[in-house]
Symmetry: D2
Subunit: 342 residues, 4 copies
């Protein structure tokens, strides 16, 4: 019996990537597809890479259209998910790819998103301590942000193992698809090709409290985070370069051991052999995460670096992974650890 | 019962793409992987995107290593396939991804490749008239060149329908992976990013006689071809802009009809709706071909444009498609028409 | 005594490039800078690469603001130049970087631009036969389109020498800045990086009649042109791959001679040594044109390829070159033939 | 009276950029150009963007060839400069663009470069405290590394003002030209386009001791540095994202004041208006440095970000700037603060 899935927001980058993955998922049947300004258009004009869905037509995002599915994915602008979710009933699995239900602290939400907090749902990053159990059988899933996925996977092992001081510095480079499909001057190809630039500097990026939440939970204490996102001239991928001061007594061996333990049974996280470093090209279109870690004795810091595809593991792949857990399917169903390279 | 496949030349771009596709093929089990200068190395160091094969080690390309497989793929430098193929016996399916067995005319081979002609095998572009039947059950397959794949699919319908004069002009832009993985100064990222440049101008590119062979067969007469390849600042993809003088009496409708007829039952060729044009991004990592055609009445020419992924449909995907036919499997087994975009 | 120059439309890509060149021009003093939606903004926010002008503020585009200059450059959307030019008086040099005054045939204008023809001004491509003399001392200049610059320079020598049939095929790849700075979905970095795509196929691009006009004038007869523009994943540059059937009796030597003659005294056109081909990277930010030509005897065609920077020689550099001629300055004043590479 | 300049190593990226700048320098006449493996070749084949020098032929790098110049620039592989410099005599200005004479501590040199220390020359980063005076009239100049230029300019004001703890974290993204022109597999366009990857992680990059040297001198105490370089998919540019813990009592105002003071009279460093952030595209081909700084109160860190062109300010522009000082010319002669964008 197929799982029938609807996608609200099928015309954007997150929605398109989700459809790409669902088309390859053996248990899923794709149901309603909705857009708002694009309702009525052929998907072939909006997502020309999704050839098997070319003749599907987008509908409006209404409760009626989304009714009658086993799973509803919400790829909507921040702040719009709660109203839709309410209408879907408690028995439908709702996977929110927006930010609305990620944060536990209502004050954080209000400060960074300037609106009322809608609540907190099980957090769709199964690799974090305790997260997998909360997702199994759940009817609600909050898909993590792309930067928090990359940064948390890079650093939580150090905090879980108690080898890092509670003060992290994260500099991440993202491909442009993370900024979405709405045309803005600074996202033009003419502007981004050949250029690296930072944005949201100084702790003001909305993913900051989410990273703090994840690392603090792993550490058992409040972790201070300096997070700087940068825009890189590539369509996809996040490279997160993270570091934290090492606690006294830390050695290269104890660092390596912490990471080996954290990822020993993880199907999607690949701790690279020593000497090999992550590259976003290696995880292009894949749900895999490449992680490597080093201990810089001279600087006294643990350096952990991760590479993900921001649209796959960072958004739509993470959503499918959590859906699998929520539905009781094998966690890896329909998800690949093979990138498209070069 | 799984088809056991060996890949000779697993460290290059063609070999890597082939492995990416074979990993997703439900009937294939990956056997021996060979390299030459790379023999003894872990595949994880050479093809880090192929996570499930990371711990496989390359062997030397010898008859012993390649023995005992149902299919042997040869991704070797031009001129090396014949010697290997001879040792494999007539019952093994040999799929040659090099140029050695593509050309029918020994004189063409000698002029363009400056060595002795090894022979001619069934040509692995099933969409060409008569090609599919020759591939079914065959034990030998010559995989087409990437440019000939793109150009022939764009123009053969016009020749098969008798609507074009026997004189074609083809300008194609290719991603850099078409030039291979051997490091050369003009292929450095610093050189190719931000630059378009032609090469092999004036009919001297080795794919020229192959394009002529395909179009002439469709036309039933010798077609003259002006072919100019250009290097584009992208890793993958070919956009082939092709045109030919229209015969008297041709109309926009007769042109469209010729293309609709040619591709009506083709699972991988997508003749786009009128008004939509191909883009290489739409077929990134996919075996699909986007084609569009127009009749420029003022210039008196038929303009046909195709987009492929040079490594997928243009090399490894074409190889798997032909393997499927040769083995009696469904032609589309293990091949996707879904691109990775954006 | 400095030449005082105003720039109407200083916030776009053409205006920005013009300012970059005028800043390096020893005879020019930069006067009023105007924008429309951007009036009142600091140039430092709009053109952050023009550091010496960072604190200049854009004014509205009015006759009062533009009055009192020796030269006024118009970098306005098509159709807006005539109204502004009328108000400037006959003694001011007006250099129009839009299309309004390029075409000689009013019917062509009306068909391609769907509005009333404003007139025809001396055409700012001095390398064309007769063009230089018309520009010397002129008070009005129509700067050519970027594609017509590249294509005409590649092919006019063949027509001027009478060695080519009156039927040309042109496929050109352009960087994205040619499409301007107004944000549109298909121009997003996420869309253009990694992709080649055609547009305006089948003779409908507005630069088609301009190319026909130039080549026909050189040929002394109407030249039919098939022109296909493509969008390449780079910010700047045009590579124009052009060909025409060779007339009877043409040889490689006669082709080379025609081109050597055409460009013998041209300061900006560099006919490359035989065996070397143009690359857009070599003319990045430069007013130079790289040209190479070959005679493909087998196909019976002359292949001529040019590379320019679409914003420099293709727009703003061409404008300055014509300004120099109009003002009686040395044609090369303030213009460089040195590219920024790699 | 022109300054006669020779360039040893004219075929590489640093040498090519230097020639681009020297061609625009009003006081310099370009003399001998040398290469080693490339001796005897036309520069037009090696540096096709330097049109005015196309017919110059490279000579061998010998003392005889380099004799008779006022300035000799050495753009040689690390470790080769000392032997050449010795033969040039004390009255010739020698500007070493390699690493040989940058480090003050012989032990640092031996640890990172694994050879004998050749000595220490005046350090060519005039913006550092005290550096300008040491360069004026000097006959020897050690041009800084590209990363140390970007990182030191971003952070030294915080250390000079005593507002930062002696522990810095630097993550920098560089264009591929920083890795040179020698072809290596990981630098192929196919590999770098679409990918971000780190290298030299954990304090092992050779620029680490140079950054420490500069920041420690500004701080008056040993500064610990965690430095991670990453390779970005662009030909040029460095974006250095740097941070350091703020000392007690620091405020946003005191941070801003420290940077305004440090750069008040600097012709090439542009402290951006608040709210605007650096972008490498804005300094493409320019000797300008864009800097911005923020105080992240929540994380307790000062975040300083700089953008340079690694080949211009980061190498050849810095070399010319120092040459100007050494020769008693105006420091800005022949150097531009105008970038080529978009």
């Amino acid at each position: 019996m197929a799982v029938r899935a609807a996608v609200a927001g099928a015309s954007g980058y997150a929605g398109g990537e989700l459809l790409r993955l669902l088309l390859a998922h053996p248990e899923v049947e794709i149901g309603a597809l909705t857009g708002n300004s694009n309702a009525g258009q052929r998907l072939g004009a909006l997502q020309p890479h999704l050839l098997p869905l070319a003749d599907r037509v987008l509908e409006e995002t209404t409760a009626d259209v989304l009714a009658g599915h086993d799973v509803v994915f919400l790829a909507l602008p921040h702040g719009q998910s709660a109203a839709v979710a309410e209408q879907l009933g408690p028995d439908v699995l709702v996977v929110d790819m927006g930010a609305d239900f990620r944060l536990e602290d209502a004050a954080d939400w209000e400060r960074f998103y300037d609106s009322e907090h809608a609540g907190t749902w099980p957090y769709g990053l199964p690799e974090l301590p305790g997260a997998r159990a909360a997702l199994e059988g759940s009817k609600r899933v909050a898909v993590p942000g792309c930067y928090p996925t990359a940064a948390s996977l890079a650093l939580f092992p150090a905090y879980a193992a108690g080898i890092a001081e509670a003060e992290a510095v994260i500099v991440a480079a993202s491909g442009t698809s993370g900024a979405g499909k709405a045309p803005k001057p600074h996202l033009l190809g003419s502007e981004v090709m050949g250029s690296m630039s930072p944005y949201g500097v100084g702790g003001v990026h909305r993913h900051t409290p989410e990273i703090i939440q994840n690392l603090s939970a792993a550490a058992g204490e409040r972790v201070t985070v300096s997070f700087t996102p940068t825009l890189a001239p590539m369509p996809r991928g996040i490279l997160a370069t993270c570091s934290a001061r090492a606690r006294d007594g830390v050695t290269a061996e104890s660092v390596r051991a912490a990471y080996e333990k954290a990822f020993a049974d993880e199907p999607f996280v690949h701790l690279l052999p020593e000497g090999q470093w992550p590259a976003t090209a290696s995880v292009y279109g894949s749900n895999a995460v490449q992680v490597q870690v080093a201990y810089d004795e001279s600087a006294g810091r643990i350096i952990a670096i991760s590479a993900i595809d921001n649209l796959t593991k960072g958004t739509a792949g993470g959503a499918v992974q959590s859906m699998n857990l929520a539905l009781g399917l094998d966690e890896t169903t329909g998800l690949s650890t093979i990138g498209v390279a070069p």
